[in-house]
Amino acid sequence: MMVLSHKIFLLLLAAIPILTVIYFLFRHSRPLVVSSLLLWSDQRPARRSGTFWKRMPLPPLYFLEVLIIIALMLAATGPLLLRKDAAAPLTLVLDNSFSMRAGAPQSPREQGQREISALFRAMTGRKFRVILAGTEPHHLGKFVTAAELETALRQWTCDECCDSVDAAVALARRLDRDHGSIAVFTDRIPAGGSDKIPDNLSWHALGTPDDNLAIVNASRRGSSGHDRAMVILANPGRNPGRAILTVRFPGGSGTPVTQAVTLEPEQLKKISLALPAGTGAVEFALSGDKLDFDNRVVLLPESRPPLRTSLAISDSRLAQEVRRALAAGEETVLVDHDPILTITDRNQLPETGRYRLFIRNGKTGRSAVAPFTVCCGHPLCNGLDLSGIVWGVPAGATLPGFPLLAAGDQPLLTFNRRDTGGDFYLAFVPAASTLQDAPAWPILFWNLADWLNGKRPGSPRTNFRCGEKIPFNSPPTATGEQLKLTGNNGFQLVLPLVTGTQQLNIDRPGTYDVTAGKYHSRLQVNPLNYRESDLRHCGTGTFTGERSAAAQQHDYLDIAWIPLLAALLLLVLHQLITGRKKHVLQ
């Protein structure tokens, strides 16, 4: 394939019509009637008289000069020929998000497949690299034959909840050291339009702006015999949308329920459903539209039990405040034996639980006010608002461990890790505090319970978004075993089980069975992404950036000398012909 590095010189083609006009004017004969041709017999014939070639409207010299102009123009435009052997592969960055399925069977994905096939036919022999831009870029490898590319494109399933086109482009540049060409196939026009296309990049936008009703969020919560499911419907479109929402119970625990929903443009509608205890999976489905992928979610029951907690607090007021805080969160259950968390106001405690919270309260204390120093990255401090709080600190209290919360140089909350758990130390005098009357007090205990719940074997939740990092705590009894992940969509993953927490990356929706030794649980991954469901920003067009000089030099062979040499040869031929004609005329 040949490209022109200086296309501006194509304007030299304008010389051809100018040359034609000159020839026409020069060869145009004026009509003249004479008395007799008798006296004109000894004259030089006109340019257009004589043999067939000479009587042509334009002489062969004209065509020779046209060829010279074309050859000079080609030489000036700097033609570059693709070096098939040394060329960096053309990297195909394929948007693998589910919005590429909109409008099937004429979806952007199908159009992209056709364009890639045409591109492959036009560049036969060149290597193609394929990177799927899903939740994360996936490099599928380099391919030369059509069959290989066809096989690779079968993995372009467009079933991920978000795209990582930018990251995939960055990966492609890193792989080819900025020498290769990149072709992006997506459904959205590039940010900044055609003016900000980077070098060596061609952006093929294949989408169509459209309206779309979608389920953009879903969750399920169950505790103390209550089970609730909630979905958020959205209309990320420009026109009001109407659809039928159907709630099904795949386990057969109830009859399907339908409800008509109408959403104004950009409206969000939250729909909650109280479920009887023991309800199995619940499926929410919207009636079909251009994009089916975001019309269905399945919510499995959340089966996480509350945190077993015991109280060993002698101060009655403090005990009352702690019970009140624990009761507000529904994350704990008070037990007398085998607790996971023990809360006490004693200085020492036998290790009856894996986690202990020591509250240093004292009889008297001093009041600490803002500013407080908060370790924002720790889960215990998540959402903790201490504005206007007066914190009572016992006199002379010293807290061991890493401070998570402090007032000046006085630690208020610390954590000390142990092999089998950890100890929290809280300096708190209720009589000198307003903390127990603020939302931060139950939040602090809720954070504590949630964090400790999250450290139990398995995943902290059952229902996740597509592409969400799923933490998985290894069961202590499964050391040395393998973690097997099996989805109902054919997905299978086997990982070595490591001690502690590991992140599971599941970017395709479905129901997954998680097995680690004797441990077994189920996870549900749903396609929920407002941005992907918003088809307003889709567009169609091809946007091509400039070809960088370095890439051209690397990939292309400068063949400007060929038309230049041809022009010189044609010029010599032209001179020979014109010189011969002059000789004949003389």
Binding site: R27, S29, R30, L32, V34, S35, S36, R44, A46, R48
Partner: protein
């Protein structure tokens, strides 16, 4: 016939009214007439004496001379003739060359000469050469009444004359008005036109465009008579070559006329019509003012 042609006929006749044909040819043989010929005849006009030769009419012997000199002397008298003029007008298409005044000039000059001839007592018959040499309708009368004169023939006067069998006035004067631009032997034409005539005058009437084409560049030349076209590139040398060819052509005709005893005059149509300058005819004593 086009009205402007008739207008030029009238103009030419009016201009010729002040002139008379002044030809002094000796071979007029128009029978008894009213004009004195150059040969001996039977008029009362004495011509000369000469010695008697056997065969002379004895009635012409001048006995008074014999009485005085004892020599037989014959008394000769001038003959009385009736002079005739045949006007042959070239009717080929080249005489109506677009952009020139050749047709108007040739008609005006023919009418001029007819009027001058009438003033000199000539009997005038006008002809036009088309595919055949044809007498002009009303061609022996007033030029203003000549009719059916057109210039669209594809044949040259030589070709028209080749099939002509008689018809000219015997021993009359013949004047040919043509541009003489055809390919053929002038002597052949002059021999045929001069046969049985008292004299022939050829007046070559050319257009200014014939004398000076004045075009430069590529031209598509079309022969006005045959319609044949030819693409030529004309520059100053080419025009000069044309002028040389025209000069050679005229010289060829001039030589042929000299050899045949024919008077040849060249005139330019536009110059003639501009001021009716007939000085070339006066200079050659073809006409005289009256």
């Amino acid at each position: 016939m086009r009205n402007e042609y008739r207008q030029y006929l009238r103009t030419g006749a009016a201009r010729g009214a002040g002139f008379a044909l002044a030809l002094q040819y000796g071979n007029f043989n128009g029978g008894s007439g009213f004009r004195l010929g150059r040969r001996c005849g039977s008029s009362l006009e004495f011509m000369e004496h000469r010695d008697y030769a056997p065969g002379d009419d004895l009635r012409r012997l001048d006995w008074n001379v014999y009485a005085r000199t004892e020599r037989l002397t014959v008394k000769l008298y001038r003959e009385e003739i009736n002079p005739r003029l045949d006007l042959i007008v070239d009717g080929s298409a080249s005489m109506a060359l677009p952009g020139s005044a050749k047709a108007e000039a040739v008609l005006g000059l023919a009418a001029f000469l007819a009027a001058a001839a009438a003033n000199a007592g000539y009997t005038v018959q006008s002809w036009q050469s088309r595919d055949q040499l044809e007498p002009v309708h009303n061609g022996s009368g007033d030029p203003g009444r000549w009719d059916h004169l057109t210039f669209d023939a594809a044949s040259s006067p030589a070709e028209a004359l080749s099939g002509f069998r008689g018809g000219f006035l015997h021993q009359g004067v013949r004047i040919v008005l043509s541009d003489l631009l055809w390919n053929g032997l002038p002597a052949h034409f002059l021999g045929k036109i001069g046969a049985g005539s008292a004299g022939v005058i050829v007046i070559q009437l050319l257009a200014a465009a014939d004398l000076n084409p004045g075009v430069i560049g590529n031209v598509r030349l079309t022969d006005s008579e045959t319609g044949v076209a030819e693409e030529l590139f004309l520059d100053a040398p080419a025009v000069e070559r044309y002028r040389s060819a025209l000069a050679r052509h005229r010289q060829q005709w001039s030589n042929a006329c000299r050899e045949a005893g024919v008077m040849m005059i060249t005139m330019t149509a536009e110059e003639l019509l501009a001021q009716w300058d007939v000085q070339p005819l006066l200079a050659r004593e073809i006409i005289r003012a009256i």
